[in-house]
């Protein structure tokens, strides 16, 4: 390309000068963007580092120390806390270890209860979220409001309120007896069933909200296309709606499973201290048992288990990756 009237030498110089100016402007923009990025993220980063990673490191260190007699720790390195998780020491011979699964049982119960809670939440939450997402747009905010209504009251109060429903002369037992279905009250309080019902109630909104977000974004033309291609209602649900809302299912399941497995308030109250979950076990170590290292170890084992479960879950559900939009 030539510029007809200009002297080639001048044009070259002009271009050189412009190039230098553009490069300088580019560097300035990049520097500003970099400063801006760090300026925006650093407050959150500092809090996460100080109050998230810091305590985690303390927990890690404490789990390898010896328990103090009245709580706290003695600064002697020992893996005892982890050994204690699987083995108990022979009463008479300190070096003789006996395999025990009482703690594994508590972990197993926690995983089972959290798993059952997640699955039931999913089955109850999906139709609910579907209903919300298919309302006219101006009504949806109302339904989201209704779902978040329980958050207005403390979980402790709400869990105590469940006593009234679940106890021997509570609403459920009275109704069943009045209907003549049972002769004597069912024992619901202080059982795994009571804990499961409590967890279900406490965490259902955490399932419904991500499912709703996913279903609301779902393009219903895909559903129409499914019907157009001879799919029945059940098949449209299984082959189109559920696969397309998988991100919501994954998010909801994670949001329910993780807090449920570490739940403390619900099993403490509704389990009556008889049916321990991991949360109770850990709390016990920092309370009456005065075994901080074992509490720390149990917390870390829980964390690692949750992380592994999550990785397996996410890998399995993201296969055939659904990213729609």
């Amino acid at each position: 390309m030539t510029v007809a009237a200009a002297d080639p030498a001048t044009t070259d110089q002009d271009l050189k000068a412009a190039e230098i100016r553009v490069a300088a402007a580019n560097r300035a923009v990049q520097a500003r963007e970099k400063r801006g990025r760090w300026g925006l993220v650093s407050p959150a980063m500092i809090i996460i580092a100080l109050f998230g990673i810091g305590p985690l490191l303390i927990v890690l260190v404490y789990s390898f120390l010896e328990a103090g007699t009245y709580g706290g720790v003695k600064w002697n390195f020992t893996p005892d806390a982890y050994v204690q998780f699987l083995f108990e020491k022979d009463l008479f011979d300190d070096t003789h270890l006996i395999f025990t699964y009482s703690y594994l049982q508590i972990f197993g119960r926690s995983i089972m209860l959290a798993g059952i809670t997640t699955v039931i939440c999913l089955f109850l939450g999906y139709p609910c979220a579907y209903f919300m997402a298919t309302r006219p747009p101006q009504q949806r905010a109302f339904w989201v409001f209704v779902i978040t209504l329980p958050f207005w009251t403390n979980l402790l109060i709400r869990t105590y309120a469940m006593f009234v429903i679940l106890r021997d002369d509570g609403i459920i037992n009275n109704a069943l007896m009045n209907a003549g279905l049972i002769a004597s009250p069912l024992q619901i309080m202080f059982t795994d069933t009571a804990i499961a019902i409590g967890l279900l109630y406490a965490f259902l909104p955490f399932m419904v909200l991500p499912l709703y977000a996913s279903l609301e974004k779902l393009d219903f033309r895909y559903v129409e296309a499914g019907y157009d291609l001879y799919a029945t209602r059940g098949r449209v649900l299984r082959r189109i709606i559920i696969p397309l809302t998988k991100p919501g299912i994954v998010a909801g399941s994670i949001l329910v499973f993780i807090p449920a497995i570490g739940a403390y308030v619900t099993p403490t109250l509704l389990g009556g201290g008889k049916q321990l979950m991991i949360g109770n076990l850990i709390a016990l170590q920092f309370g009456s048992s005065r075994d901080w290292p074992f509490g720390c170890a149990a917390a870390l084992i829980l964390m690692v288990m949750v992380m592994i479960a999550l990785m397996i879950y996410v890998r399995n559900t993201s296969r055939g990756g659904v990213v729609h939009g």
């Binding site: 033309r221 296309a225 157009d228 799919a231 029945t232 397309l244």
Partner: protein
Amino acid sequence: MADSDAIEVRGLTKQFGNGADSVTALDNVSLSIRQNEFFTLLGPSGCGKTTLLRLIAGFELPTRGNVLLEGQSVVHLPPNERPVNTVFQSYALFPHMTVAQNIAFGLEMRGRPRKEIDGTVEEMLALVQMTGLAARKSSQLSGGQQQRVALARALANHPKVLLLDEPLSALDLKLRQGMRAELKALQKRTGITFIFVTHDQEEALTMSDRIAVMSHGKVQQLGGPLEIYEQPVNRFVADFIGDTNFITAAVETSGDGMVACRAASGLSMLVAPVGEPATGDSVTLALRPEKIQLKPGGTAQVELSMYVGTDTSYEIRLPDDSRMAVRLQNALDGRPAFQVGDAVSVEVSPGAARMLLD
């Protein structure tokens, strides 16, 4: 029954909403669509064309009326029980499936054997020239490719009727023009009745065997492309399809054959009569800009000139200050025949103008 119409629509009415807020999207529409026809529903947005298509597909239930497919009423059936398939405006390809899975979906739902499905998928991919892309996800396809997959997905089921809801509107101009010819060829090759919805008059004119021009939930005119363009029955059709000058004129002499009409500007035209206009009646004439000749020298003046490549569009001011659009082909060297300010005279050949009913 090969001799019955592919689709017959009888007195179809669709109202949305209830009571005072209700909107009539489709108002007592009756029409027949023949076997192997490329039939177009043409109209501006909100004219009811998409509603009519959705009623035929089964996505909506009519307020009143009947839909017959090859003589059988299907008006009560859900979409998955109607042997018609749709190509959606934005294709609606399932994003979590590959191209092949998309095409196989309808056959799978009808429980065809795997071997037959695989064969049909191959055949369809070849038909729309997409062989080799079977394993792609729909998000990895260009707009034109998605369009082809959507066609293949619908055609794989060998529908009695294929419904196309503005399938070309998402493509850019060049691709759109190419797809027109391809769609038309595909329709001829497969022998399937196509019902095509569009607001683009050029698409309608180039592809269709017959066109139903719609407005306000009613069919305004039904006919072949030539008929629709050359003999519009009313002001809406004449205005919506192509450019038109509307001229109010008085009937001067009436008799059999042509009628002489004179506009306020003094322009005199010989027109084929519609109905029985009497001398002195005021009528509306439609006159296409390309059917007017300009001669140098006269009482009219060129006010505006717009060069559009093959032609030049002029705006002519007539002696009574009314304006008229004229379109003339450019000379061989591409130069417009007239300049702004030139004095010209306007001539209209007998039969060039068309008398409208309203």
